[in-house]
Amino acid sequence: MSPPLVELRSVGFGYEPDRPVLTGVDLAVPAGRRCAVLGPNGGGKTTLFRLMVGALAAGDGTVLVDGAPLRRTRSGLLALRQRVQLVLQDPDDQLFAATVFQDVSFGPVNLGLPEPEVRRRCAEALDALEITDLADRPTHLLSYGQRKRVAIAGAVALRPALLILDEPTAGLDPYGVEALLRTLDGLHARGTTLMLATHDVDLAYRWADELVLVASGRVSPGVPGTALAGGDLLAGARLTPAWAPLVHRLLDRTPGLAGARPRSPDELARLLAGPGDDRPAR
């Protein structure tokens, strides 16, 4: 069995000597996952991500990449950055070239790839994010949602095995969220392991196949979906419950609908409207 893409073993970190932000973090991200990281603002999500991409050095513990301890040397970080990429929440912090194409090509050019290969990588990344038509546009004239996609394309152009996204859906309207999730599913289908931070408990519930809770300096991986229906773990993380698992419990008490598992209001609406009645409640 291949080792996890990234693994943290009893990792601790603090920006100031005696104020730890994270303590005793054990977390493994195996290839192929769709992992949602839930937690309140200031709870340590971003710090966790920055440890995983080597932007911060762990105070205690070990970070392993593909099973080998991360070396924080030039070449060690270079190798890491081709395996793991982090996309920050605010796209404006990540776009610094004049046009979309130039911006996306930044990483491949820095890798020292020959120009045809740079072009191939950019075309691929733009295609994956469905923004090929934006290639020649100046970055500052794009909408917020478009800028988000360009920022993600810039990371994808380095062909990371693991792509980490910090609050990718923040600021998008529901339609924009759905469209972005479909695009991410496409990336996942192409073999990219995904990890994203979100406040939206329902989004995490319906999108992820692994849930990680980050709150008050502790990281809890492998949270079961049912825990999102409420309880101490969720309340401790200053999060509200998700609708979906509660609705599932409710459905199991509703004649003729037991076992139905809608994960979005759209699916629930469909269930309640027409085809939902294909199991007539008698």
Partner: protein, 259 residues
């Protein structure tokens, strides 16, 4: 974040009137500059450091980090005083420069501590709205206040852009670093003017028509602090004058007694 700025808001002198802290720090700065480096400058520096780490409560860690860069300048700047050149290629050691170098380094070191005594205890938020009382035009103080507000926003942007570039291998080679740096400066520039435009709209909604006047938090000057400051300054000046006389007396006396 900027450590000195953060320290000024966190320290025990946070709510003191900026004027009294200015009196103390600038008064000591005057002593550092005008008194002879030995022993006046040394006394002033010691006093400033003691006040800074004692009642003003600055963490030693912050002080050490703040003095690093200026001390480097002082050190480098004193080296040329130790050599003399009389023409192209004719360079010699100049031991007579040692006194100047030592005096300059002492004066600058003491003055640096006085500057920090003000910088690390006095939030600019208290200083800027009061500058017009010193004759600075209101338009200039308001622009200064806007610079103060926006520079933190832009520093955050610059930091984030740099991290994002580093993640995408932007500092791998010398050429890449230059490209990245230009991108960073360009991105911050665009952000700066975007900020200005958006803030203009945001302030228009709050009724901005040309004046950015605000009410400042009341800060009552403390008579005790001012009196203490005056005493301390007088003490430093007095000690600086008495100490040489006293040491001269002490060093002169024994031989006299011998005879």
């Amino acid at each position: 974040m900027l450590a000195l700025d953060a320290a000024a808001y966190a320290g025990p002198w946070r709510y003191r009137h900026p004027g009294e802290k200015a009196l103390l720090a600038v008064g000591l700065l005057g002593c550092a500059l005008l008194l002879p480096a030995w022993p006046g400058g040394a006394l002033t520096g010691l006093t400033a450091a003691a006040v800074l780490l004692g009642p003003a409560g600055l963490p030693p860690r912050v002080l050490l980090r703040a003095v690093r860069a200026p001390l480097l300048f002082i050190g480098t700047g004193c080296l040329p005083m130790l050599v003399a050149v009389s023409g192209p290629g004719s360079v010699r050691w100049a031991p007579e420069g040692l006194a100047t170098a030592a005096a300059t380094a002492g004066r600058a070191g003491a003055a640096l501590l006085c500057l920090l005594l003000f910088a690390a205890t006095t939030p600019l938020a208290d200083v800027l709205p009061r500058l017009h009382r010193l004759g600075v035009p209101v338009a200039v103080t308001e622009v200064a206040a806007l610079i103060y507000r926006m520079l933190f926003l832009l520093l955050d942007s610059a930091r984030a852009v740099r991290q994002a570039q580093a993640a995408r291998l932007g500092y791998r080679t010398w050429a890449a670093a230059h490209r990245s740096l230009a991108g960073q400066a360009g991105a911050v520039f665009v952000r700066a003017f975007d900020r200005a435009r958006r803030m203009e709209e945001g302030l228009a909604l709050r009724g901005y028509t040309g004046s950015l006047a605000v009410v400042t938090e009341a800060r009552r000057p403390s008579a005790a602090f001012v009196a203490g400051t005056v005493l301390l300054l007088a003490g430093v000046v007095l000690a600086a004058h008495l100490l040489p006389t006293a040491t001269a007396l002490l060093t002169d006396l024994p031989p006299v007694a011998d005879r």
